[in-house]
Amino acid sequence: MKVGLNGRVHVFGWAVAAGLLAALHLAWGPVDLTVTEVWRALWEGEGTHGILLREVRLPRVLTAAGAGAALALCGLALQTWFHNPLAGPSVLGITSGASLGVALAVLAGWTWHTGWGFGASTAGAVLGAGAVLLLVLFVASRHHAPVTLLVFGLMLGHVVGAVTSVLQVEARSEALQRFVLWGMGSFGSTGLGASVFLVGLAAAGGGSLWALARSLDAWTLGPWTARSMGVPVVRVQWTVFAVTGILAGAVTAWCGPVAFLGLATPHVVRMLLPDRSHRRMFPAVAAAGAALALGADLFVRAPWSATGGWPLNAVLSFFGAPVVVAVLFRNSWNG
C-alpha cells in the first residue's frame, strides 16, 4: 500500500536525521573529534576523549533524544485523547506539579546529589508530577468528559504556578538562581545512568502507546462511536494518563519544564506525513522528537554564545511558537 510505504520512509528519514545530529553532537564541541576518534573513544577509550564522551557528550545526546521522543509521544497521545491540537504534556498540570516539587526542594535549600545526577530537585519533580497525576486520575475516574479534564489540568497548573511564584519571592537568592536555571531547561545535567534510563523509559512508554494505536484511531471518531466499536475506553484513558504522566514527569525532573517539543512535534510530523494512523504516527513522532531535540540542543551549545549556552526553552520557543501559529492558521483556513 502506498500510504504504508510513505509512512515507513518517513519514520526512517526522521531516524536518520536524529542519528546524524547525534553524531554531530558527539564529534563537535570545544574539543573537536573525528568520527573515527569518537567511535574508538566510545568503545575502548580510557583517555580524556573517552571520559569526555562517556561523561559529557553521550549522556547529553541520549538525554536529548530520549526526552524529545518522550515529550513528542506524550503530545500526540494527549492531542488525540483530548481531541485538541493544542494539548501537550503541560496541559494536565504535570509539568507544573514537577515545578512545584523542584521549587520546594531547591528553595528549601536541600542540595543532596547522587552519582546518577539524581538529587533533591529530581526527587521533588518526580513527587510533584506524581501527586498531580494522581489528582488528575482521581478526577478522571469521576468526570469522563475530556474538556472537563483539560480545564481542570490548566487550572491546577495555575494554582501550582502561583504557589511556586510565592515560594520564589520568599527564597534566598542563590537557591532562586538554581531554580530559575532549572526552569530554562537543559539536556546537559544528567549522568550516563540517568540518560540511559530515560531512553529506556521513552521506549517502554512508546511501546505501551503503540499498543493502543487502533483504539486511539477509533477514538478520533468520537467517544460514542469508539465505545460502540469496542474500544475499552477506561483502560485506554488510564494507560494514556499513566504513560504521559510518568514520561513527562521524568523528563521534567531531569531536564526542566521543556517547552513546545511535546506540543509542536506532532504538528511538524503532520505537515509532512499524510498518514494519520497512530500505528505510523507514534514511531514518526518519536523519531522526529529526538531529531528536533538534538537540533535545538545544537543551538543551545552554539559556539557564538559568550556565556556558554543559550537557554534551551528560549531556543525551543523561537522554533515552537511559529509552528503552533502556522498550525492555527492552516486549521482556520482549511476549515
Partner: protein, 223 residues
C-alpha cells in the same frame, strides 16, 4: 446472532436525574424498528443507554443472555453497533483506514460503503468530506460492524433527499438485519413494507403505534 431478543427491563435513561420514564420493552423480531418523539424527549440518551454506552439510571438492557452494560467492550461491539447523530469532524484517517478498524473482508467493506452511497472515497481522509458524506461513511461503518442490533440515532439528519431514500431502501431491504432507529423524518417511512414497529417516546411514557398508520397519527402521539 442478528435479531436476537433485546429486552429493556425497567430501563430508565438519564444522568443524575432520569430523563425517560421506566421502560419495559421487548424487541424480538429483526427488521426496522422506529422510535419517534419530540426534541428533548430523551431519544438520544435512551438509545445510548440501551446500547450500553452510558450507565442507566435504573434497570437493565439485555441482548440474548448478555447484559450490555456488564459485557466487555469488544463483546458489546458484537451485540450493538451505534451511530451517533452528529458526524465527527477533523478526522485525518482515510475511509479505508476507518473500516479497517473492524474485522471483516475488503469485499464486505466495499459492499457496506456502496450500500450507503459512500463508494469511491476509500483513500480520502474523512476530514475532506462534508458532514453528510461523513455521515454516510459512518453509517457504512455501523452496518459493516454487523452486530446483533444496529442502533442509529437520527441517521438522516445530515443526509440529502436521495441519500435518505436510499438509506431507508437499504434498511428495509435487509429483512434479517435488526435495526432500531430514531428519526424526525417519519414521512419518508410511512407505508414502507419493512417497518416492523413504530414507538413514540413521550413524556407520559412509551406508546406503541401502528407501523402501517398515517404520519398524522404518529405525529399526534409525539405530543
Amino acid at each position: 446472532m442478528t435479531g436476537a431478543d433485546w429486552v429493556w427491563d425497567g430501563l430508565q435513561a438519564g444522568y443524575r436525574t432520569p430523563v425517560t420514564p421506566v421502560l419495559n420493552v421487548r424487541w424480538n423480531r429483526p427488521g426496522l424498528h422506529v422510535i419517534v418523539g419530540r426534541n428533548g424527549a430523551g431519544k438520544s440518551t435512551l438509545l445510548r443507554t440501551a446500547a450500553g454506552l452510558q450507565r442507566p439510571s435504573a434497570g437493565q438492557s439485555r441482548i440474548g443472555a448478555h447484559d450490555v452494560h456488564a459485557a466487555h467492550a469488544h463483546e458489546r461491539a458484537h451485540l450493538v453497533a451505534f451511530l451517533p447523530s452528529t458526524p465527527p469532524r477533523g478526522v485525518g484517517l482515510t475511509v479505508g483506514q476507518i473500516l479497517h478498524l473492524l474485522p471483516g473482508t475488503d469485499v464486505q467493506r466495499h459492499q457496506a460503503l456502496a450500500s450507503t452511497g459512500a463508494e469511491g472515497w476509500w483513500d480520502v481522509p474523512l476530514s475532506r468530506l462534508s458532514d453528510g458524506e461523513t455521515q454516510r461513511v459512518m453509517l457504512a461503518r455501523a452496518l459493516f460492524q454487523n452486530a446483533a442490533w444496529t442502533v442509529l440515532d437520527e441517521p438522516t439528519a445530515f443526509l440529502d433527499a436521495p441519500a435518505r431514500t436510499r438509506l431507508f431502501e437499504v434498511l428495509t431491504a435487509q429483512a434479517d438485519r435488526a435495526v432500531l432507529l430514531s428519526t424526525h423524518d417519519f414521512h419518508a417511512l410511512v407505508g414502507l413494507p419493512g417497518v416492523v414497529s413504530v414507538s413514540a417516546l413521550a413524556r407520559e411514557g412509551w406508546i406503541c403505534l401502528d407501523p402501517q398508520g398515517s404520519a398524522a397519527s404518529w405525529e399526534a402521539a409525539c405530543r
